[in-house]
Every structure is written in C-alpha cells, then in structure tokens.
Amino acid sequence: MFLHYLKYEILSSLRVKDLIFWLILFPIILGTLFKIAFGHLYEKFETFSAIPVAVVDEAPELDSEFVLKMEIFPTRDIIDSVSEGDQPFLKVTYTDRKQADELLKKGKVTGIISMEGKLSLTVHDSGIEETLLQNFVDRFNSSITVVTEAITSNPNAEAEIIQAISTEIKAVTDIPLTKGNTDYYTEYFYNLIAMVAMYGSLTGLNITIRNQGNLSKLGARKCCSPAPKSISLLASLIGSFIVQSICMLICVSFLRFVLRIDFGSRLPAVYLAAVCGGILGVSFGFCIGSIGALKTEIKTSICFAVSMFFCFCSGLMIGNMKIIIEEKAPWFNKINPAAVVTDSLYYLNVDKDYSRFQTKMITIAVLSAAMILLGFGLTRRKKYASL
C-alpha cells in the first residue's frame, strides 16, 4: 500500500508543470541572470589590487648617517620586491616631486613615498590603502634603524639581516581562512538555492490539499478508501521529499557545473545542505497547509508570500538584509528557514571545520521535525464539520 502511494505520488508530482517551472526552470533562469549580473563584480570590486604609489628618489641633502644606512640597506630593491609577483603590494611609479604631486592630484596614485632623509609619505585622503601605505613606511623606517644598529655591531651578518628584514617589511600577507570562495556575490546563489528549497513548500502544501477531505475532492475520495490516512500522508511526504531533492540536486548541479559558481571544496556537503533545505521547505508547506480550513487558493498565497518573505529576509533581493536583521532581530535569522539554509552553505564555504555547518544542519532537522509533527497532528483529523 505504502509503495503504491509512493509510486503515484512521485509520478504525479513530476508531471505537475507548475512545479517543474518553479523548482527547476525558474531557478535556472534566475541563476543565469544572477551570473550575468554579478559574475564579474567580485573580481572588479572585491579582490585586493596593488596600491598605486609614486616614489620620489631624490635626496638633495642627505645626512651622513642616512647615506651610510642607504648604502647598506637596498631601499629601492625592497620597494621593487613588494611591487612584483602574483600579488604585488605596490604599483610603483618612479618620478620627480613635481610629477608625483601631479599624479596624486589627479588621483592616479594613492600616495607619494619620498626617499628624502627618512622615507616619508604624502596622501590626500584617508582609507584602507592610505593606512596600508603608512604602515609600510613606518615599518620600513623602523627597520632601517634596527638594521644599521645590527650591522654596526655584527658586520659579518649583513646579508642575513637584510634578507630577514626585507621579508618582514611586506605590509600585507594573504592568510586564507579556507580553501573556499569568499566572493560576496556568491551569497546570491546561496539565496537562490534557499529559494528553491522554500518553493518546496508548494509541494508540501499539495500534500495536505490532496489528503484532506475538506480541501479537495481527491482528498475526500482518499478519506473514503480503506487506506489509513497516516500511511497516505507519510507516502506523500516521502514522495515529495524525493521530488524536491531531485530539484535541489538539479539546481546545485546547474549552478556549479554550468554557471561554474564556486561553492568551495566541499561539494558533497553542499548537495547535502541543499537537499536538507528542500526537506525543510516541503515540511514548512505541509505545516502551513494543515493549519485551519482556509481555501486552497488562500493557503497557496500564504505559502508563497511567507516563502518569499523568508527569502527576502535572508538576502535574496537585497544582499545585506540578513546583516540588518542580525543587528535588529538576530533570533529571526536563527529560525528563518531560508537564512538557515544560506548560512549552512556559507559556513561550508568559508569555515575550516564543520562545527557551524553542523549547528545549522541540526537547526534544519529540528525545524523540519517540528513542522512535520505539527502537520501530522493537525491533518490526522478523521471527520470534518463541513466539506
């Protein structure tokens, strides 16, 4: 009996055109649009790029001590070394003072480093790049002092000291938190996955409609059959979970392998999170459908509206919405199904370990179980006051 129900539940669900559109085609279309819109923004705005700087190499009045320092300390070599490689820190233009002022005025460089006496920095604005430059210059100047003192006391160790100090002067070091992708715009694709998961609520709603005698003729007919309602509901739920999971797998696969969205190095866990999110969506719809005796159309509208609200709050439409909610009502982010799904995907991507991901998966499991139990409790009623 159970397998009979299950077979036809899956078969009929897979043939619902609306469901196929909302759960498969719509995410594909939206995902493609997201890719077109955000695909290159990360590289453009979020990746660190070398700070343009003008270096003025003129020393009209060098004091004898500084000349000594400059002779033993290869300043220019060090500046050159931080301007080369895969991730250069500086983009250097060697020029005279007049030309450097001109470049700074036009905004073509962030600052001017002058090798006049001690290294000095001239900037027009304050910001991250200016701060980094100041840090570099300060460390350079303090290093010169340390080096000259060290070499004076131990002339034989000159080469080692200069090598060590040159490495230390590098102002920024890339410290990866994870092997994952920290692209801010990937959040939109997490939200897209969460949206597909929440659309599962429509499938969940369909379960109650098709099993409740007061919501559909089909439900009434099922209620007249000798099959226990619990078996019918369970088969419908599992069938919907399977169909929803297929849709989630298609969605993630499309994003990963067609649009080439980087979900990090833990793809199996991403699939797992998406499938669990889909189960949560179905459970949510099942729960909504079982509450009250509202008309099917009204319940569908409520389900759709609430799902979209959850997605909105997790940042589907406005990227930093979740952050705003985290400031105003952090508890809501913890129970918002869409936010829980996006968080689990995010943590998978950026965290070194699975602890935060596991917490989110437990939240998904608890929310799903609570909704399913509530749904079962409300739909197990055998008779209706009116049909």
Binding site: A220, R221, C224, P226, P228, K382
Partner: protein
C-alpha cells in the same frame, strides 16, 4: 429475509444555524437500487458524506453492513465504492494510472487488480482512452473515468452522488445501464439525483428529501399512490367555451381543469375511461381539437403535491 446494508437513525446535522439534516432515517436493503431524490440543497449530499464518515454530525447513528460506521472502519470502507458529484481524479495521471491508483487502495494483489482494472475499463467503455490524461477527455468520458475509479474494486455497496450532472445523453444512458448491470452483479446501489426521470427509471425504492427531511419513501408506484392525481389529460384546443370547460370539470374523477387559450389540462383522480368521457363532451359540442395526450403522474407530481413546489428549478 433481506439483509440491511445501510441504516441511518435519527441523523441531525447542522451547519451553524442551518439545519441540514433533521432527524433523518433511512434503511436500505441488500440488492436495492435506492434513490435519494430531492432538489438542490435538500440534504442528499450531506447524507452521503455523513454516511461515509467524512462529516461530523450532531446526533444520530449510522450502520453499514450491520456495523457502526466510523472514519477508521476500514473493513467497511473496503466494501464501498464512491462516485462523487464532482470528478475526483489526478490530473497528472493517465486514465489507466488513475484507475490503478484508486483500485490499488482496495486491492493489493497485483494480478487481481490488473484483471479488475481491465473489467472496469471495459465496463465504462474507456478502452481507447487508456493513455489519455483527464483534461483531454470530454465531460462524459471524464464522468466515466470517475465511475471506473469508484467501482473497479468491485464493491458491495456503491454510492453515486449525482453522477450524471452535465453529462451528454449518450454518456448518461451508458452510465445508467452500467449502474443496472452493477446491481445485477450483486451490488447494492445508493443513487442521489435531482433528475426524477433517472430515479424513476433506475431505482427500486426511492426516498424524497426536502429541507433535510425525508418527506416520502417507497417504490415509485407506492409514491405515486400517495397523491391524488392519477392521470393528467392534455388537449390542444382553441376557443373553448366556458360552459364546456365547466361541463368537463363536472365529470366524475376530475378534480381540476386549467385552460390557457390553447391547451386544456385536466387532472383526474382515479376512475377509468376519463379520456373517453372528456373527448365525448367535446364531440357532442362539435368542437374540433388537435393533439391529445395523457400522462401518468411523475415523481415531480408527487413532490409538487407534497411540498407545493417543483422538484427541479426551471433552468435545470
């Protein structure tokens, strides 16, 4: 002695202030085609829904096959076939899949189910439409599918709630013939309708309902005997003098005459040769007349006389 299949005692059902069933009683014997006849809103469908334990009720008792009917009476439900007023099938499943789905809720044995499905398909004449989806079927074919889904498991009690609403005459005849055949094969049938002709043609016993009450019950002949009218004579005639109309009214066994300028309608109660006596009066007055016809009372006359209103709305 015939077994009682359905027994409804003192059933009361309210929808808020509305009294949908007012101490309703019914007893249906094995092998009957029992008709529940009444206008829309008379309580027929509510009775069926209470019978099937879909609806709660305020008072009363329902027994099917001698056992109390509850929502978890799965052994009773196994023997019932239900054909709802509205078609209740899966839009996403084909004709064959739909019948298999519903039959599978009752019959677990696959081989037996296959045989039953083939018989049901043949019974409703859907052999050529097995791969069709419901939305591709006409209204009549859809109704047939609805019936096949309800009877494929060979139930002992079949409940048909207005199965011929919005059905073309060909499909209607097919459905009615099918119901008679199901009955001949041993099923007890409960048939609700507001089409009196169908009920008259089909049912061995009839209960007439109005405002949640049973106002009459019996065979069609028993019901017709409950009323005064036994024959209605209609004659197409122009310029009927008042004295002739009065003379006809004065004939024995005639209790009412109506003349509208074109047609004379004479209502008779008992007696023999009423038509001959009426025509004899017209002949003696040398009045020419056109079409003459006589009708025996219908269930509508029964309903009209008991309730003072027609069974069916004019637009129906």
């Amino acid at each position: 002695m015939e077994k009682t299949v359905v027994k409804i005692e003192n059933l009361v059902k309210r929808y808020g202030e509305l009294l949908a069933l007012d101490h309703f009683n019914l007893e249906i014997k094995e092998g009957e085609i029992f008709g529940l006849l009444g206008p829309n809103g008379s309580g027929k469908t509510t009775t069926i829904n209470c019978l099937l334990s879909l609806l709660t009720f305020d008072k009363g008792n329902i027994e099917i096959f001698g056992k109390k009917m509850t929502p978890v009476s799965y052994d009773i439900k196994k023997e019932i076939g239900i054909i709802m007023q509205d078609v209740a099938v899966f839009e996403e499943l084909t004709v064959l899949e739909n019948i298999d789905y519903f039959c599978g809720l009752y019959i677990r044995d696959k081989a037996l189910r296959k045989q039953y499905i083939e018989e049901a398909v043949k019974f409703v004449g859907l052999e050529d439409f097995l791969k069709f989806y419901p939305k591709k079927l006409s209204g009549g074919l859809l109704r047939r599918l609805n019936i096949a889904c309800g009877i494929a498991h060979k139930p002992k009690l079949i409940i048909l709630d207005e199965p011929t609403v919005a059905v073309d005459p060909q499909s209607r005849n097919k459905i009615l013939e099918g119901i008679e055949e199901l009955n001949r094969n041993g099923a007890t049938v409960i048939y609700t309708s507001h089409y009196m002709e169908e009920v008259e043609q089909l049912c061995t016993r009839i209960a007439i309902m109005d405002k949640g009450k049973k106002i009459a019950e019996g065979t069609k002949d028993e019901l017709k005997r409950m009323i005064k009218n036994t024959e209605t004579v209609s004659i197409d005639i122009l310029n009927l003098p008042d004295e002739v109309k009065s003379e006809i009214s004065a004939l024995p066994h005639i209790y009412d005459t109506i003349y509208n300028g074109e047609k004379l309608t004479v209502y008779c109660s008992g007696g023999k040769h009423n038509l001959i006596r009426i025509l004899d009066v017209l002949q003696k007055k040398d009045l020419s007349f056109g079409r003459v016809y006589t009708e025996l009372p219908t269930l509508n006359d029964v309903f009209l006389e008991i309730t003072g209103k027609a069974l069916r709305d004019k637009e129906e």
